[in-house]
Structures are given as C-alpha cells and as structure tokens.
Symmetry: C4
C-alpha cells in the first residue's frame, strides 16, 4: 500500500475512536501494519486528537526500529508489536480506556456472551489477562502487557475473539484492518455496557447457548456468511 | 401508495432509529407493508446508515418472493414476514439492539408497567419470548424468531402492546405505520431504561394499578382518546 | 404583560425542557400565569416540539375557561390549574417525564437532600404524592393529580421546595417565572440522578445536616442571599 | 503574564468545564493565580456561561482584597484562596458539581486507584474531607471548606493527587496551570464514574498494586516521564 494511504488509514482509526466516544483526554492509540512491507504506523505519543494529522503517524518495523525519527511513538508501541508478532492474521490494533470495557477490566470480569450483539462480533468470551508481576511492571511493562494478552489467548483464535481486557488497565482490540478494529472497539464497549447492566440487575444471567453463539457469529463471519451484499 | 413514497417512508423509519440513538453499527432494521398491494419494503443487508437511500429499500411479497433482485434484503426479513402474516393490523416492524431493551432481553425480564410513561404507549407488560430450541436455531432461525414472538402474543393484542423482547437477542417493535413503530421503539427504550433503574434500586417495585394503566392508555388510544387535536 | 411576550415566555419554557434533555417524544408540558390578568398559557395537546410556535400556547383563566378556541390545551391542564389556585406565589408549572425523576416517582422514594446541589435549589426533601384511589383515577384523574400534590405540600412551602414526584407518574416542577421553573426542572433531574446513584451504591446514605441545607439554600434565596450580582 | 492573557486563560478554564459536561446550570467556578504578581482571577458570581467574557473574571490578591470593584467574585472565592495559600505549587483551582465525583462526595467514599486511568493522573487515593461542624458552616463556611481540604491533605502531596471530594458537596480540583486543572477535572469525573460502576458491580474490587500505580504515574509525571514529545 502507498505510504500516504496507509498513514491516512491509521489516522482515521485514531480519529474514529474519538468520534465514537471511546476516548477521554489522550488515552488510547491505534496502529496498523502493512504485512507486505512489514511497516507499522502508530499514533505519536501525547498528540491532542484535534491537531492530529497523518504526519503524526510514526513508522517502524516489527522490532520497533524507527523508519523515521521525528516523533516519539505512542508509549504503548511495544504492546502493539508483541500482538503483531504473535497474531499474524491481524492488521490493526486499538487501545482505549472506553468506559465500560475499562470497568470490566478493573473488576477483572470477562465479558461472557449474553446476547446476539456479542455473538455477531465475538465468537466466545472476551477474556481478562492475569495481573502483571511487580518485576514485569518494573522491568518491561509495555512488552509484558502484550505477553499476558498472548498468554490469555492460548487456545483461542484472536480473529474469532478480537479483543481482550488487560486487568486493571483497559481493552486492547484488533482486526484484519483498521476499520474492522474500530468497529470491534465500538461493539466491545457496547457489549461491556450491556454485560455490566445485565449482571448488576441479575448476577446469575446465563450466557446464550453455544448453538446461538455459533449461528449468529457464522452469519457474519467465515465461508458460510450470509450477511451483507455479494 | 405510490412505490416511491412507500420506500421513502421505510427509509425514514430506518434513519430515524439511528437519529434516536437506538442503533450501534449496523444492528437493526425497519420494514413497512403496503396492505393494499401486499408489498413489503425492508432495508438491504449490511448497508451503512450514512449511505442509505430509498434505493436500498428492497421489495418483496408476504411470502418473501422478491419484487426486484438488486440487493439482498436484511437477514432478518423472515421474522418480519411472520409478524406481518400473524398480525394483520400492523403496518411496520422495527428491530433494534437498543441498549436497555436488549439488556432486559438478555436477563429475560419482561417490562412491567411501572409508570404512566409505559401506560401511554403499551397497554400491559412487554413480554419476553422463550428461548429457541437448538433445532430451531440450526434449521430455521430467522423464521423461528418470528414464531416465538407470535407464541408470546397468544392472548395478547399486538396493537395494544406493540413490542416484544426476544430472549438473548433484543427488541422487535411494530405499529400501524412506520412513524408509529419508530415512536414505539423510542418509548420502549425509555421504559426499559426506567424499569432497569427502578428494579435495580427497589427490586420489588410494584406495577401501577390496572385502573391507572387503562386510564392513561385510553387517553391516547381508541375511540375515547382525548389526547391531541381533533 | 403584553400577550405576545407572555406566550413567547411560555413557549420558550416548553422548548427549553426539550433542549435540556428532559423530554422524550411529546411527554411533558409547561404553562405560565399572568397573575395580573389571571390568564394562563399552556402548550396545546400533542403538538410536536419541532413545529411548536407561540400560537400553540392556549389561553384560559384560572377555572380553565378558554380565552380562545382554536386548539385543545394540554391534557394535563387541570393539574396546572389546581396548582395555580393552591400556590398563589408560583408563576409557572412544568411537567416532564425526565428519566431519573420519573424513576424515583416509580419507586415512590422522596429525594432527600444528599448534597449541596440539592440544597442550592430545594430547601428540604422533594416529596412523593400518595397513589390515587381508583375512583379518583376514573372520575377526575387530572384534577385529582393536582389535589394529591397539594396534599403532599401540607406543612411545606411550595416556593422553598418547588417540585414533587407524582407516584407512578413523574415530576411536576414550578417557580416564580417560567425561566425559574425550567431551571428547577433541570436541577431536579440532576439531583434525582445523583440520589439514585448514591442510594444504589450506599443504601443508607445520610442527608446533609440541616445547618448545611439551610446555609446553602439561603446563599441563593431570600433576603440574605449573597449569590450573584446586585 | 499580561493581565489580558491571564484573564483569557481563566475564562477558557471556566468555559472548558462546561464544554466537557462537568457543569449543570451555573454550578462551579474556575480561578487562576499569577504567582509573580500575586493576582488571582476568578469567575464572577452567577454569570450565565453563555454570556461569559474575560471581563467577568474578577481580580483580587491572596487575601481576597479586590483589584477592581465592578463585580462580585464567585461565592466560593475564599475556598480558592485557602488552597492557593496552602498549596504554593498550584496555579489554578476548579470547583464543579460533576455528576459522579459529586455522588462519591455524597456517599463520602474516597476514589481508590482501581485502574491505570486513575494512575495516569492521580498518584493515590482521592480523599474525602470530613464533614464541617455546624459552627464552621454558620460562621465561616467558604473558608472552612478550604480548611478541611487542607486538613485532608496532611501527609499528601497536592500536586501528586490534584483533587478532593468535599463531603456532601462536590469536587475541588487543581493543577499547575488552568489547562492542567481542567484536564484533572475531566479525568476525575471519568475515574469517579468508573469507580462507582466497579464498586456497584463488585463491592470488594481491589485497587491496583502500588507498583503499577507508581509506574503509570511516573510515565507521565516527574523527571523520568517518557510520555509525549521532547
């Protein structure tokens, strides 16, 4: 992909998180990867969203080596890199502190599939990572954050459940493209809000059946999807 | 009704659900029926709301036979058809995943009439369907969704209680016209929000009396209605 | 006051309730009284807010005798009249179904003064009326609604606590002027929201002390008020 | 700083509290201090936010002696003065009745650090003051409000925890500059909202570890901060 188009796409993902109400202040960051060139673009650190342009998208490779040196990348870059290396099918990563997803991360409660809203985008429970050890926090915090995410996805397909709650922190969300990652981040916040309210009113609310979960997910995803236009 | 005016009305109902904050992403769909011609118009599947025009309203008959072939209808079309066949008095159907109505569907709690806001539009409890059986989900999910709605309305007048919560899924709402269905969908979300909060604070909140329910409902509906202008 | 200015003021009060998010659909109505002429202006019944003009303000006297005959007044007119007759110091009445005030009316819980936000506008608990008797609902519902409000204010000064929650229905709010009534309706919704959340988290939350209640109220009201400019 | 620029900065802080949804009606006030000249600028009392200009910023010195006499300062001026005298490192003070911070002040529950959103801006628990004594309320309410804040910060660094909840009243927030104080007020409301929801769902939610609190705080603050651009 031409570099300008790539940066524009990642910029748009960053701005979309704000438009969708997922961001307070400068919390959050979105990145994308061009798997052909191996280049990653991510928001620069601490740039106010209302001044952000494509030039604030910082480029580096999968090991974090800068492609240019003008600006510091987001302080969460290392987490994104771990995810891009571990999940080869993903093309974009978004981190936010969106309200209800963050609350569920604070109470360390996975978001179980309570309805078809969840099933349309997430094929199963959205997990919570374990807490980081003190040494992990002190020595390699940002990278370790990526590692506990990867750990939480052992035995899970990150493309079928494209989100995680980092304990005591907030959500990381991904997708095949920046646009898909934005959509997943929006739906995550909505299902987190619904799960909070369902469980606050009826603590023992049961998840939907595996049959309904599978059926709804497969209407929108995979070879047999029937949703949308040809 | 001329076809253009009919499609415009159904388009407007789809767009109104978004304007009223009842829709996240592309969840939801609105349809209308012209009882004279027997034609149904429904949103095409997966069309982004901000690009939607009257040309995205797909036409078919009561058995779902397409009137034209350009676009796939909403994946929920069969549910709408079951409702139009079973409830001859209705002229429009709207499905959303509006937040609080969906939460109440997830916890499978009917919305009982706790106040006059409810009574002004719904003459009694808004029911929850039973869960679908695994075979129903696998073999004929969309149609079966319509059937459990009809089942939940045995002994109820669908025009007096123009909404239902499909268990683990979300609300379906209807009305004599697309505009009426939109209004009912808006009020449903508001009374669902009120019921959630009333019951979360005071679990044993009592419904209003049958006398107050009847009185408020009949001020706005039926032969003796006194509300509005002549 | 010239009739045109009077109607414009009452129109503005009706529109302000919508701007402040206190109104869903066409719920709610605002009226004003010109105590010199004895004329009351109130919103016509069922007029959509986005088409409302000063010409939709219907005039009548304190007994409800129409000053002109073009439009039906709000179906809640009789309640307003009872309040104007019983509370001679008030100049405007507003009825809404604003979300949290209505929820508190549904659970029949008075809003006790939990903070200075309350104390700045309401000098004590905002009461809930008793439920109407079936005969009252059937025979003279709208007038009886006014009467149970007046009953709830025995021993209270309606200008010091300018709001009430009608059980199972919603709030009525008033003030010396339409603008003051709008402000009271806005603050009522905010203190109802705060009281709901305070009591949901800590059911036994204590009200602020009488000393703090008095002090804050008197900073803004009465002969010794120090708030604002001379 | 030139007086015009100073007033413009304080005006902007007042307007920003409204833009960020922290203010209902005319609740709240923002001030700033020019430590070189010793001048303080604060919002005039009772001015509607939509008519507010730099000329409504009233000037006085650290003892409250007016620099000019046109308008009454905010009725909370004395509280601001106490804070400026006790906390020499701060350059601005903001008081709001923002919804969730006020609710936590009403239930007298400190906001403990439940997540990194909190840790990025507040290096520890946000305390609640004690209740004022009746004599304090009657004799010197506004000044005593400042004094109980200072009391609550014995053993705390006001620049590391730039906010407090005044029991039964609402938050006071500060910062090195008016812009920083606005940001702290926005984040406070968000962490208060998150804490309310976390604790309502899981009452025993544990704070994050001291290690994680320190690490996140120090990424953004102090000599070793790595956040943002050089």
């Amino acid at each position: 992909m031409p570099l300008d188009a790539f940066k524009a796409q990642v910029l748009e993902a960053n701005l979309a998180t704000v438009r969708h109400g997922l961001v307070t202040a400068t919390f959050g960051n979105a990145s994308g990867i061009d798997r052909t060139s191996g280049l990653i673009a991510i928001k620069a650190s601490g740039v106010p969203y209302d001044e952000m342009t494509a030039d604030h998208m910082v480029l580096c490779d999968l090991e974090g080596r800068p492609h240019d040196n003008r600006l510091n990348p987001s302080s969460d870059l290392e987490t994104h890199l771990v995810l891009y290396r571990a999940f080869p099918g993903i093309g974009a990563v978004i981190h936010t502190h969106s309200t209800f997803a963050t609350i569920m991360a604070q109470v360390r409660r996975p978001i179980i599939p309570l309805g078809t809203t969840h099933a349309d985008y997430f094929h199963g429970e959205i997990p919570v990572t374990r807490d980081l050890e003190p040494e992990e926090i002190r020595d390699r915090y940002v990278q370790a954050t990526g590692e506990v995410i990867v750990e939480a996805f052992r035995g899970r397909d990150p493309l079928e459940v494209p989100a995680v709650l980092v304990a005591g922190h907030g959500p990381f969300v991904w997708g095949r493209t920046p646009g898909e990652a934005v959509l997943n981040a929006v739906i995550l916040e909505e299902v987190a809000k619904m799960a909070w309210h369902a469980q606050a009113l009826v603590p023992a609310t049961e998840p939907i059946s595996q049959t309904l979960l599978d059926h709804h997910y497969k209407r929108k995803h995979g070879a047999e999807a029937t949703y949308g236009q040809k």
